[in-house]
Symmetry: C2
Subunit: 433 residues, 2 copies
């Protein structure tokens, strides 16, 4: 049973705070193990990768077999049905179109002092994308990570994906090919992250690593941060639905379950202005939980972390939602735009009853890699910006230096940084005489 709360109950604040602070994930402490693996890959390169792959993935390779050959990719891609291929291509096209609009512009101008100022953006030279193996090997995640990198103009994009017992997911390979990925390696875990960050004989190092992974992968990404850039460390998925009574309870129930089925630690919350509607949704959830394929996972998530909250009006709903700062927020109300304007913190907003969150997972266009665990308060979903960096530009003329140099001299003196000041003074002396 999820918790049923009413924002007007006297003990609501305590119960809501408990919901917010519920520890939803037991992260095993694998940091020492991961440090050893990284050190080993740095020291021994491919030899270490091959040993770990034999040990963890039960797959004996030679160094030449670490990379998928073009022929191997061809063969795997050929196994994908026409329907699946068409769906992947449709999704890729929409994701690409959305992310192309995100490309930021360069700028350059001359100000009143005569100084030329500006900036320019450029892609990282190489990016690595981690793709989990086994059950959580999602082709949609390949599209969502690889397409922004390629739209940003990253010239070299490598994927690492473990292939336990040698089994590769053809859809993952096809998604990589459709996205324009340049290299694919059959290696996973912390050893894959180490190889991407430091390089081996076969795998050249990259500058940025993105993509989801288990506790070992997450710990390895934290460790190599600084050596390379990383994306966020994602936690379990969340959805918050704000719905009035004028909705089909079954739609909302399925939306809540589509997060719950991801992970026993996922969280699904319904906030509604109508208590009876909330109960109808909970009943519909229970019905689906009798038959859903992933009912064990979804049921545990809904039981342990699910919540149905009744509120007197949508202003209260918006305020509570901001305290959750949900990864996914559905607004199933008569005027979703008006309610959206009241929301400050959310990774992605899905407006109206015809926009199930699952559309955003696959084919909507926006990225499905979104901030979890309340981090939408300060961070954003994956975008082309994650694969770009900005260089600022400045060019003074003698006139511009005369106009603004004296302030720099004054501040350098105030900060006791003499050479800073002298580097301006020496030039001003020359321009003046």
């Amino acid at each position: 049973m999820p918790v049923f709360l009413d924002s007007q109950d006297p003990d609501f604040e305590t119960a809501f705070a408990a919901l917010l602070s519920a520890k939803r994930e037991d992260s095993p402490d694998v940091d020492a193990t991961v440090a050893d693996i990284i050190a080993d890959v740095r020291a021994r390169g491919d030899a270490a990768l091959l040993e770990y792959t034999a040990k963890f993935d039960r797959l004996e390779l030679e160094a030449g077999g670490l990379a998928f050959s073009a022929q191997e990719v061809d063969e795997l891609c050929a196994r994908v049905s026409d329907e699946d291929r068409a769906a992947l291509e449709h999704a890729a096209e929409r994701i690409r179109a959305y992310h192309e609009r995100q490309m930021p512009e360069d700028a350059q101008w001359t100000d009143a002092a005569g100084a030329m100022l500006g900036w320019r953006w450029g892609p990282v030279a190489a990016a690595g994308l981690y793709v989990p193996g086994g059950l959580a090997s999602y082709p949609s995640s390949v599209l969502m990570n690889a397409i922004p990198a390629k739209v940003a103009g990253v010239p070299r994009l490598a994927i690492t994906v473990p292939t336990p017992d040698g089994i590769a997911n053809p859809l993952v390979l096809l998604a990589a090919r459709i996205s324009g990925v340049d290299e694919i390696y059959r290696v996973g875990g912390a050893q894959a992250i180490a190889a991407l960050a430091y390089g081996t004989q076969t795998i050249r190092p990259v500058d940025k690593i993105t993509g989801p992974g288990n506790a070992f992968v997450a710990a390895a990404k934290r460790r190599v941060f600084g050596r390379v850039g990383i994306d966020m460390i994602a936690g379990p998925s969340e959805i918050l639905v704000i719905a009035d009574a004028d909705n089909d309870p079954d739609f909302i129930a399925l939306d809540l379950l589509s997060q719950a089925e991801h992970d026993e630690s996922a969280q699904s919350i319904l906030i509604t202005t109508d208590r009876a509607f909330g109960q109808a949704v909970a009943k519909a959830v229970d019905g689906h939980l009798k038959v859903l394929e992933r009912r064990a996972i979804a049921g545990a998530s809904w039981r342990d972390f699910g919540a149905v909250i009744t509120v007197p009006d949508l202003d209260v709903a918006a305020a509570l939602s901001d305290r959750v700062a949900p990864e996914h927020l559905e607004l199933c109300v008569a005027d979703p735009d008006a309610l959206s304007a009241k929301i400050t913190h959310a990774g992605a907003i899905f407006l109206g009853q015809w926009t199930p969150e699952a559309i955003g997972d696959y084919v909507g266009g926006p990225n499905h890699v979104l901030p979890t665990a309340r981090s939408a308060r300060f961070s954003s979903g994956l975008s082309v910006l994650d694969f770009l960096k900005r260089t600022t530009l400045a060019r003074m003329t003698p006139e511009a230096l005369r106009a603004i140099g004296p302030a720099a001299e004054t501040l350098a003196r105030a900060e006791s940084l003499e050479a800073h000041g002298l580097s301006v003074t020496a030039r001003l002396r020359k321009t003046n005489g």
Copy 2:
């Protein structure tokens, strides 16, 4: 003596690689101490802050004295000379004008399928800025961190600054006031970061923490990352100058020294197409090192990490510079724009001989918080984007769902996520009748 290298010498590659990999900073391992301090501040709040402030800053306060009052700020600001005040205001105005141009735009459009898509940006609700005390207490850093936050629209901006023995830097307080900072607290170290991240009775928690600090502050920022957003962990400063023979050696010497005087671990590198010019610059550096106030620091940096590299042409210079990926890059050549176009990785580029790097530290306009330690390969200087986050938006109509929903159903089935698919199927069934 810095190292003198020639890119055409047979052993150049070895020497250059050694220069790149030189370990320039001994970070003491303070992680366990920092973990204890954070836990203590979380548990005891203000009481812990007061104890640490008494211990580390030799300053006995009561909780009411943690915050500077408006009157205290007034009194300190009144001590600043008119010249210093005018310079700070001039710098603030230029920094504000530059960062206002960085504000990204919201977007919203309807695509061919009838789906409304877009995103919107919003500021974090509260940001905290760490300002070091003592020698490295730079008012320019206050401007460079606080102004982008206020331009981004952050409604609540708090500063923490230690005041050892109760001594505050009036310029720091004035810079905070000019920048529009809302709250100023006299607390430093890991305890300040803990207070900003978790809150105490006096200091409400923030969502994002930026600003430089010592090893304790850096370790604390790493630890609270995830609970709040943080900026990059900055390493020692770097400058790389590419200069032809048509320059005043004294200008270039002072530019190299203006990084070297920051820190014994700073690094200054000159790449020149003219060996004799390189030697003239080194001679000018030696001259200044006899008299410069901070000659002990600058001399150690130049001796241990400085380098003068001769190259046959500017293409080689650009390629070597990209391998360094310098924080600051000066292009003192006849056509700096042409050379700039060949550069891929740099935090900030200063074009032409009239643009000393010190201009960028104070009054140029671009931010002086820039990526160090080769991280310009994958990251950018501080900007308004660091204080904003993006929410993606999507709204389907029944028609749009009919156009793109089937692809989502197919991919959900391919990923064995049944509820995802059903959430689309249930709606399609209803729209179809």
